[in-house]
Symmetry: C2
Subunit: 427 residues, 2 copies
């Protein structure tokens, strides 16, 4: 099986290096020998002496995807538009694809998968989500007999590191981001990570696999951690929760929902134990019940592990037929996205109030009028004539929540914030 790699950045370099280092082990586990024949990179000089003997290095991506001897193209450049074009061309040339490019797949996965089905070739991407956790294979294969009911994950290591620093060290957002940058967990521009967009890319793929729905980035709502206040982290802690950036896809009665949001997670749950830059994913299926998987979400070697596993899979399955099965459920009617108003859940609500008599009564009336019952209530001793009132609701619908929001804002008074986060049950 002749393999060609697009890119020679951190991940591509680690993949090639570890393919060479663990070559004997890999050969012992593959029926068809894997051979690295070609690399394309903008900086061919970097690759000198760092690829197997006989491997051609050039700066011509197009020649690589057109090379008739290549069976598998490993796309590790990370570019969305160029990546899409190269993948489609490689598929036209009947090559299998292995990639770790979540942004590309979240936005153009349907088009690419359709093309792959047409030419009976595989697109594998274990390295695209939570690299040390075999979640793609678990959803596609291990849970294949299950109706998956929910998938709930911490899918962005940078955000998790930032929230962990804020929670454990009392750091503010800017300080925590700077520390993440210093440690190499965050990019110079951290927006993609802290905005929730990266986690939403990954959730797009997981939701498609879990529910057999089309890959549709637009169906995933996301909100980042830029606005998370240390105050809410502290209140959550007092109530027995940690605030995590949670990506969740669920089957609701009316369809599926998928969203990424700062969320309160019960301290005793497995997801709450996922700290620093780690990733964790809880999975529920009608047969398997609950499972939870934990590991690194990034790193050159870790991503190499996933990419090489995909290559070994291709080598052992015989390049023949496509294995995109498990992605589309051919014969089942795919469920649609649910009306989000119907979604039911528990919410954390914090109101900043003027510390005056009658304020609690006013808020209580708003909740009662909206038929929202409260599970826990916490009022923080005021300061500067203001006080924080925190309510954790029982199950309510998003519709109920939105309906009472204007009244809550009025009750809170002019210029005061109303903070709302969903609350997870035990996982």
């Amino acid at each position: 099986m002749k393999v060609a790699v697009l890119g020679f950045g951190n991940v591509a370099c680690a993949t090639i290096e570890n393919f060479m280092a663990n070559q004997e082990l890999i050969a012992s586990k593959t029926r068809t020998p894997i051979e690295l024949v070609r690399v394309a990179t903008r900086t061919p000089g970097r690759a000198l002496g760092r690829v197997p003997q006989g491997c051609l290095v050039s700066d011509d991506c197009w020649a690589l995807v057109d090379d008739p001897q290549v069976d598998v193209v490993v796309e590790l450049m990370g570019d969305v538009q160029l990546g899409r074009e190269l993948m489609l061309r490689a598929l036209s040339n009947r090559k299998h694809i292995v990639t770790a490019n979540k942004a590309l797949l979240a936005r153009h996965g349907e088009e690419i998968l359709r093309k792959a089905d047409e030419v009976a070739r595989s697109v594998l991407f274990e390295g695209a989500v939570a690299v040390s956790i075999p979640i793609i294979k678990t959803l596609r294969e291990s849970a294949a007999a299950n109706h998956v009911t929910s998938i709930t994950g911490i899918l962005n290591g940078t955000s998790n590191y930032v929230l962990s620093q804020m929670s454990e060290r009392g750091a503010d957002f800017a300080t925590a981001v700077a520390e993440a940058q210093r440690r190499g967990y965050a990019e110079a521009d951290p927006t993609l990570d802290v905005s929730g967009e990266d986690a939403a890319h990954k959730l797009t793929l997981l939701a498609a696999l879990a529910f057999g729905v089309p890959i549709d980035f637009e169906a995933v709502e996301f909100e980042g951690i830029e606005g998370v206040d240390g105050l809410d982290i502290a209140f959550a802690k007092r109530l027995g929760y940690r605030i995590k950036l949670i990506a969740q896809a669920r089957m609701e009665p009316g369809g599926f929902s998928a969203s990424v949001r700062p969320t309160l997670v019960p301290m005793a749950s497995m997801l709450a134990q996922v700290t620093d830059s780690m990733n964790g994913i809880a999975l529920q299926g009608d047969l398997l019940g609950s499972a939870f998987l934990y590991g690194s979400g990034a790193g050159g070697r870790q991503t190499a592990s996933a990419v090489l596993a995909d290559l070994i899979d291709l080598a052992n399955r015989g390049g023949g037929g496509a294995c995109n099965k498990g992605f589309r459920h051919d014969q089942c009617e795919a469920p649609g996205a649910c009306d989000c108003g119907d979604r039911v859940g528990v919410f954390y609500i914090r109101l900043r109030l003027d510390d005056k008599a009658g304020v609690l009564a006013r808020v209580s009336k708003v909740l009662a009028d909206a038929n929202v019952s409260v599970n826990e209530l916490l009022q923080d001793g005021g300061h500067d004539g203001q006080t924080d009132l925190i309510a954790v609701t029982h199950d309510i619908s998003t519709r109920q929540l939105h309906a009472m929001l204007p009244e809550l804002r009025i009750a809170a008074g002019h210029g005061h914030s109303v903070v709302i986060y969903p609350v997870l049950g035990e996982h």
Copy 2:
């Protein structure tokens, strides 16, 4: 793909029932349709109306494995000797095998795998270990490019339930076992589970997959939880640990080690969060770093999920070649078992002592003479003229430990117990 099932107990029944219930979903994910054509059970009457139309039910196991139309035999009887003979015969007839029978595979896996390689057929057994956790597939496929350095698991739900009851409720061993029986977590005779033998069966399979060594039950040392004292659970808690029945296989400098033992696990580790009857497995590889997987270890539906996933795998890979790759590392020299004296680790040592002056000095001298340095020391206010002295060591070799044991017994004094458990690092 024509499938026949041996057995109609809890797991077989759940497998067939859920195959029928989720038939449309399963069909949508398989390239070759899966058809259940035959069941053999001692009580054919039980299966009436509970198998698909046209499926033949009889009490003749031998006719089933000899039936020329059958492509895959699913062995769910649980019997070791009869199971072995039926599997070998089925393989002679060039049928693939799917099984959840860990005792059989731990004891006769080498013979069965050798036969399977001979006839180029697959033996799949995701249901044999920690059913809701795809650990077999993870080791065989997802971690295939890794040199696995250790695998550490809670693999027996019954023992974990018993220890959890002892730890959380202060129940004694007998009461906790009775409660486990009442809830259906323990058999009438709980020996196989609480003795560590069942976990050792499972570890035998995981070690073979992780290190590419032969399946050899004799290479796994095991000790059960029957002797675990509530006192040690309480002391461990004071020191920041939980006592768990830990199955661990590790690559040591001189080879691999594999053992099942009551072990102190740091409270903050993922493994310590595995309570009640759940299973959890921590995995370390040279590329992937650390991963942790958690889920149910038993249950009809959960096992059905794993067995059906194996069937879907067979249907999608085309019955052709064997996929026992990943089990033996053909071209690598398999490492041998290490000399256990060389194993290095941290130990918890509890000595029951007469509460007299000079006793601590005597024990300290034994430790110093053996060159054992102590990380934590705890002495419990005495009662009845006796006191407990607990030492948690720094890293020492098993050889050092055994060398000082006779002196420790002398220091403890006549008739007094010396309790020793290994201590895990953070996972």
